[in-house]
Amino acid sequence: MYGTGIIKGLGVTLKHFVDTYVDDLRWMTRGGRYYNPDALKVRQSLQSEGVITVNYPEEKLPVPERFRFVPFLISDEPMAGQKYGKDWCTSCGICAKVCPPQCIWIKRGTLPNGRPNPQPEEFYIDIDICMNCGLCAEFCPFDAIKMDHDYELASYDRTFAHIHDKERLTKPISYWREIAPSRALAEAEVREAEAAAKSKKKGGGAREKRVEAAKERQATPAATATPAPAANVPPPPQLIEITDDMDPADIRKARIANSKAKSAYKKELKALGIDPASVEI
């Protein structure tokens, strides 16, 4: 009969309509359907019936441990009075190399004796380029970069707020343990096992080899950089000093000029056979 299909369909919509109220009644005696953590848990699972709305921002949908938003850096627990502790990052550069849109900039520091410091002096992530893929966290051999769960990052301005510098990125390890307890635990176990294996004998797990290899890569530039003959180094280029009271257009021009001068200088150094990383500009 013509029209039965439509009537059947209307029955389905009516059922959905009634379901919402039935579910309301069911929760009435148990603290209400909304703003109730127990009710939210059921509402967001496979057993949900009726309306499934999450009343963000009052109640938030919990994110899983593997959830990834923008990356952050892990440091030791901060000492009293300090903001963050010792970085886990050794500025090996693997994250910057693997990053698909290349949004990570790392500047390795130097020790007073001229050797490279296995710690980043500067670390920038442009979150307007970052694609939240998580490859940096996946391939970091030191568990030093992880994907954050904080997605509430909306801002009125992007020029400063969206370039995360080291200070903005660094968070203590306790934060990671809080947002991803079981992953943090598993990683800590692997680290401990590695440390134990290392103290016993060399070799072993593939992961340890990776760590070793990364450390070796770290060490090699140090070996080649130190004997750089100071006498042959040409004079560094004249850089334009950028001050706060300059016009924004001038600042941009100055930055471009500076970077051009720097790259020209680095080329000159390379031509002389000196590692540009070993010379302070």
Partner: protein, 603 residues
């Protein structure tokens, strides 16, 4: 399910030769002695002279039965000062691999005969190659740029073409470490924007109007039919239109309300996937493939890792394969749920069916988020395995229990309810039946793929025709319908959801059995180096046949050429054929039944 008619595709064709393509190639070489093998190491196919291409292609189609021109790819061989066009031709009846034809021409004056008059499915692909490589197709009826605009200077996919924000040839860029200064690309560009102009070009600011006049001429064709002479009206739909599924544009010429001509215009989301992909290392491309068909990122991952695994010559362990199939089939459900919801949205069942299916989609996305870390952009597969094993819990429920409940209870109930809501609905039938007809011959000629092809009565599914992964061990039917209209496309998608549920039910026991087994072959590597050569790998994406054409040199970390055979893009070629003669209100329904995603159409 009551009305479904399933046809087993496998076993239909009598298998005579071990490899039909080899047989066909041998035959071709006899007929055309000038054909020579592509003798580059690890390359396949034959090289055909440009003036013989038409004869070879027609012999292949008419006499040897290779009737499905799947993919046309442009390649820039800058070292040999040549450009190359690669054709992948399949046989619908015989199944199996492709016959690969290649035409190499001079880089300075590249002209190739067009296959469009014989194989209309080549139309947009040839236009794309003209647009991005500057290869002229002699005899093409409408050779204009397709992804870029007409005034654009240069052919951007050529190897010697540089973008405005050009930094370095290959990633990773050395400037990012260890002395990386934050120099953002716009600071190095003299205009501060991602633009560059030809030397000496001085704008007046008035001479360019956005391409509005281009399609005006469609309206003034004289009508020879007898009767009342009415003026035709050319209507522009899109790129900002609620029913074009994104930034897609159609220029429609109407006689009264009847469509007499239709020109799809695209490129409004052309974000240079292939150019960026050729600079990326292999692993860096995985998250980019997520953003191709952004409704089914897992399938895109799958096709790409299969292609690169062929280059690397590795295979994933058993557990990884089963998880991959699980993810890909869940993706198919997610995609079809979305496609059906929006198709019904387009025909006027505003929001309700979409919102019902959306709830099930969200529950699957919750699983993706728990497994891969992101709802849509999963980035889950790796060369030789997976990024992570299955999670322990999903929404506070153990994973296997969650999947079992999802597949055995939640999804079948939801689908039954959805069918009660729509499948028998008279209004839906009135809007969908007999509209947007595409015959089986046309579907093949237009290189249609996926549900669009199968709704026209062609039982062709890559999972059966050229099985990959463990699909040859699974029991499922290829959903086929024979009327070739919108309603059949709708039914094919509903059937495919049931088939996917069936596949997942078979996969779940394997997941339990392989619990705790490795999910990676070898250790995870970020700097993979491939063996080199050429590979074309295709998978059955929810939208149709998704192919990846990748070439690389030996020990290379970046692909030389990285091309995607995008099913939505090629399915759009048949749009005009399906729409002519229908009312303008049916247009959005026809477009909805093709199920396009602009990220894949424009790439």
């Amino acid at each position: 399910m009551s009305e479904t008619e399933m046809v087993m595709e496998a076993g239909d064709a009598p298998v005579v030769y071990a490899s039909p393509p080899e047989e066909a190639l041998a035959d071709l070489k006899e007929r055309f002695p000038d054909i020579r093998d592509d003798d580059r190491p690890d390359y396949s196919g034959v090289i055909v002279e440009a003036d013989q291409l038409l004869a070879v292609a027609m012999a292949l189609r008419e006499e040897l039965g290779f009737n499905y021109l799947s993919s046309v790819t442009g390649v820039d061989l800058i070292k040999d000062n040549k450009l190359e066009v690669v054709y992948h031709v399949y046989s619908i009846e015989k199944g199996g691999g492709p016959v690969v034809l290649k035409v190499q021409i001079d880089r300075d004056n590249p002209v190739v005969p067009s296959l469009t008059p014989y194989w209309p499915g080549a139309d947009f692909q040839e236009r794309e190659i003209w647009d991005l490589f500057g290869i002229k197709f002699d005899g093409h009826p409408d050779l204009r740029r397709i992804l870029m605009w007409e005034e654009f200077q240069g052919f951007p996919m050529r190897k010697d073409w540089r973008e405005a924000f050009y930094e370095e040839d290959n990633k990773p860029f050395g400037s990012r470490w260890p002395g990386g200064d934050v120099i953002r690309a716009e600071e190095l560009n003299r205009y501060g924007k991602n633009v560059t102009y030809p030397d000496g070009w001085i704008p007046t600011g008035e001479e360019y109007e956005v391409e509005t006049d281009m399609y005006g001429e469609v309206a003034v064709q004289r009508d020879e039919t007898p009767g009342l002479k009415t003026d035709k009206v050319t209507v522009n739909m899109g790129p900002q239109h609620p029913s074009t599924h994104g930034v897609f544009r159609m220029v429609v010429t109407l006689d009264g309300e009847t469509i007499v001509a239709l020109k799809p215009v695209m490129g409004y989301l052309h974000r240079n996937h292939e150019k960026i992909g050729e600079r990326n290392t292999f692993i860096q491309n995985i998250p980019y493939t997520d953003r191709l068909d952004y409704l089914s990122s897992m399938s895109n991952n799958h096709g790409y890792v299969l292609a690169v695994e062929k280059l690397l010559d590795i295979e994933p362990p058993e557990r990884a394969e089963w998880i991959r199939i699980l993810m890909v089939e869940l993706t198919r459900i997610v995609n079809h749920a979305w496609a059906l919801g929006f198709l019904l949205n387009d025909i006027g069942a505003l929001q309700t069916p979409m919102l019902y299916l959306y709830i099930e989609r969200e529950l699957i996305l919750d699983f993706f988020e728990a497994a891969a870390g992101s709802r849509m952009m999963c980035n889950y597969m790796r060369f030789g395995g997976l990024a992570f094993d299955l999670p322990e819990r999903v929404r506070e429920q153990p994973t296997m229990a969650y999947l079992n409940e999802l597949v055995y209870e939640r999804l079948p109930t939801a689908m039954a309810e959805f069918e009660r809501l729509i499948t028998g609905n008279e209004i839906a039938k009135a809007r969908m039946q007999g509209v947007g007809y595409l015959s089986a011959e046309d579907a093949i000629a237009y290189s249609a793929a996926g549900p669009l092809l199968r709704a026209s009565g062609v039982a062709y599914d890559v999972r059966r025709a050229q099985p990959y992964s463990y699909y040859d061990q699974l029991d499922f039917n290829v959903a086929v319908r024979y009327n070739g209209d919108i309603y059949d496309r709708y039914l094919v998608r509903v059937d495919e959801i049931y088939e996917s549920i069936k596949i997942i039910k078979q996969v779940l026991p394997h997941l339990e059995a392989t619990e705790g087994q490795p999910i990676m072959t070898g250790k995870p590597q970020y700097a993979v180096r491939v063996n080199g050569g050429e590979v074309y790998s295709r998978v059955e994406n929810p939208k149709g046949e998704l192919g990846y054409y990748v070439t690389a040199q030996r020990r290379a970390s970046n692909p030389d050429r990285y091309h995607i055979r995008a099913p939505s893009f090629i399915n759009l070629t048949a749009m005009e054929k399906m729409s002519i003669g229908h009312k303008v209100a049916d247009l959005v329904a026809i477009l909805g039944s093709i199920d396009i995603v602009l990220g894949e159409v424009d790439r």
